[in-house]
């Protein structure tokens, strides 16, 4: 399995959870704290499981997610 | 000045627009301006320019919005009921500060009315028929020659002030034939660059054409910009003609077709030794209030002649400002004054 990395701009995130549902490895979840807009934002709860598939970014309506993968 | 042609007013409007560099024309059929659309359907294609017979007047004015947004010279034309349909787009053009030319060859109203010439759209043209605070520069020609000249000026001033302008004629002017000579187009050299146009953001920051001004004082500030533009137009672009006004006891005020009979009446009455003159606004917004105010200092009476139930008479009263009585003579829905009718009415007043 390739190793991936998800970077989420928490200030752009509106907590819609579409990325969470899209993640095949259940990497993402909602944060316990809030961003400055008052949303609980999406965050990698299990970053070690990320395979860098990019599905989360593909589903993000707010372009808040960047995805990287090891070569 | 080129050679002399015998042309219908509607055709002259079209040829003048082509000479003025109209890049795109969009129209929808309505009598009595159809010759203009037909003329453009032939000549614009000959010139390799854009012509579309749109699905409606609403679409036509928005196609103008698009072409004007591209920084091109764009024009549409219609007659009264069709101009009503264009009001939405005209308001948006004004809001987005897009230059464009709208031609209204007026017919009888309200509603479907009839195809007779009329001047019932004066309020609509000069007060803004669409929503919001905006103005159009409105030309009021009274001959085929002036229709040609005005279209060329309308394009120029629209570009100069970044606002829509209108040529307001009527069915008689559109349909009648007179000799016409076309002027050379004015150089665009002194006009501001259209650096706001939507041409693709190559090598520059993106441009946005909009009238939606959200947030804080955005719309307020935008309207203050418009106020400044309109004040400038009022300072620079007032146009009117005076005929025998210097010693006139009675001053006629008329524009367009109605002014043709008034010119005849002034000549006839002067020959009979009666001191009658005429002030003829060539542009009806901005309006020559000062000229009327000045005339009110020497003229004892005013008579406004219009082919409607009394619209411009309000502006004359503003200009005259109570210094002299202002009477009105006019009918709507198929009436053009004859020289005799105006003379008779003046004689009643003298």
């Amino acid at each position: 399995m390739p190793k991936g990395k998800v970077v989420i701009d928490k200030e752009k995130c509106k907590g819609c959870e579409l990325c969470i549902a899209a993640c095949p490895k259940k990497v993402l979840g909602l944060s316990e704290d809030f961003n400055t807009k008052g949303y609980r934002y999406s965050t990698p709860l299990h970053p070690e499981d990320c395979i860098g598939c990019g599905f989360c970014a593909m589903m993000c309506p707010d372009v808040a997610i960047e995805v990287y993968r090891e070569e | 000045m080129g050679e002399k042609y015998l042309m219908k007013g509607n055709e002259a409007l079209g040829e003048a627009a082509i000479i003025a560099g109209c890049d795109a024309y969009f129209g929808y059929p309505i009598t009595p301006q159809n010759e203009l659309t037909a003329y453009m359907s032939k000549r614009m294609l000959e010139e390799g320019r854009v012509f579309v017979q749109s699905e409606s007047e609403v679409a036509a004015i928005n196609m103008v919005f698009g072409a004007a947004g591209a920084g091109k010279r764009a024009m549409t034309s219609s007659s009264s009921p069709g101009i009503s349909l264009k009001q939405e787009g005209i308001s948006y053009l004004a809001g987005a500060q897009l230059p464009a030319v709208i031609v209204n060859v007026m017919r009888g109203g309200p509603g479907l009315g009839n195809i007779s010439p009329a001047q019932g759209d004066y309020y609509q043209a000069t007060r803004g028929g669409g929503n919001g605070d905006y103005r159009l520069i409105v030309f009021a020609p009274n001959s085929v020659q002036e229709m040609a000249d005005d279209v060329m000026d309308a394009f120029y001033l629209a570009d100069k002030y970044r606002m829509p302008s209108m040529v307001m004629a009527d069915g008689m002017l559109g349909q009648m034939m007179e000799p016409v000579q076309f002027k050379d187009p004015k150089s665009k050299k002194d006009l501001p660059a259209k650096d706001w146009a939507l041409t693709g953001a190559k090598g520059r920051p993106r441009n946005i054409v909009r009238s939606l001004m959200l947030g804080g004082t955005g719309l307020y500030e935008h309207n203050e910009v418009l106020r400044k533009v309109y004040a400038e137009v009022e300072a620079n672009e007032i146009r009117y003609e005076e005929l025998e006004t210097a010693d006139a006891d009675l001053t006629l005020v008329a524009y367009g077709s109605a002014s043709r009979a008034c010119i005849g009446a002034v000549r006839y009455l002067r020959a009979a030794g009666k001191k009658v003159g005429l002030i003829r606004p060539r542009v009806i917004w901005p309006y020559p209030y000062k000229a009327l105010e000045k005339q009110a200092e020497k003229s004892k009476k005013f008579l406004v002649v219009e082919m409607n139930l009394g619209q411009m008479v309000d502006d004359v009263r503003i200009g005259v400002a109570g210094k002299a009585p202002v009477e009105f003579f006019g009918y709507a829905g198929g009436w053009i004054p004859t020289v005799k009718e105006v003379v008779d009415r003046v004689n009643q007043m003298l």
Binding site: K12, P61, V63 | T199
Partner: protein, 248 residues
């Protein structure tokens, strides 16, 4: 590490005004990705009329025009005919395109002018607060169909893509969705083809995107996706409705 995904160049970094989970954002992003991939950001001109996406110009790094409600196809006509080498697209919602702008889109499609339209169908008026749209489904409750859409009273939901596919000028019409990665990828292909067709001068191309409106549907973003799959998709089947390349 290799970048798998980051913001397309054609998008600004502005945060959208859209509600959480609204599919507008995904549709915007796909358009921006396509513009980047085709390398047309310096000659693309977008048009968004009245609707939630009226502010779309804030989110794209390209020239953009606002228009009156429903008139984007007419404005596009003016922009495109005077500049045939630019890539002009409209971005319209269901109220805008299928109701007030029905005449304009029908005539643009039928003329076959070389313009691209992205049509967002979420079966409701979002911006004005959840009123019935032409595409509102039978039985669907909105603020103006409080007892559900009744075909006797409100008429039938309109299948715009199927209707426009019947017109001669159309080069390509497809209906996609963006509720999961698979459909996002398929819809992006559709959008890319609709833009490529314009570049190739093939004629009018449109992609309808079935989208959610969680706020006005009164559902969470994830529940809204389920509602779309269960209710909208059967009535508005996904897929290519017309493609002149396939016909030849």
């Amino acid at each position: 590490m290799k970048t798998v995904y980051k913001k397309p160049e054609s998008m600004t970094s502005a945060t959208t005004i859209y509600c959480p989970g609204c599919h507008h954002g995904i549709a915007h992003r796909l358009i921006a990705e396509v513009i980047d991939e085709l390398g047309i950001a310096d000659r693309a001109i977008g048009i968004a009329p009245v609707g939630c996406a009226a502010l779309a110009y804030d989110y794209f790094n390209i020239d953009f025009s606002e228009t009156p409600h429903g008139r984007a196809p007419a404005v596009a006509t003016g922009l495109k005919l005077t500049q045939p080498d630019r890539v002009v697209f409209t971005y319209q919602g269901d109220g805008d395109l299928a109701s007030i702008g029905a005449a304009e889109i029908l005539h643009l499609a039928n003329r076959g002018f070389n313009i691209t339209t992205i049509f967002i169908n979420n079966a409701i008026y979002g911006m004005t607060g959840g009123q019935m749209a032409p595409t509102t489904l039978e039985g669907q409750k909105t603020t103006t169909t409080p007892f559900g859409r009744d075909l006797q009273i409100h008429g039938h939901p309109m299948k715009v893509s199927e209707i426009l596919s019947q017109t001669a000028g159309v080069a390509y019409i497809a209906r996609g969705a963006v509720y999961d990665p698979k459909h996002v990828m398929e819809t992006k292909k559709m959008i890319k083809k609709a833009f490529q067709n314009q570049i190739d001068g093939k004629g009018f191309s449109m992609v309808e995107i079935l989208s959610t409106c969680p706020t006005n549907w009164g559902l969470s973003p994830l529940d809204a996706v389920e509602w779309l799959k269960k209710n909208m998709e059967p009535f508005y089947p996904l897929g290519v409705k017309k493609d002149i390349d396939q016909e030849q």
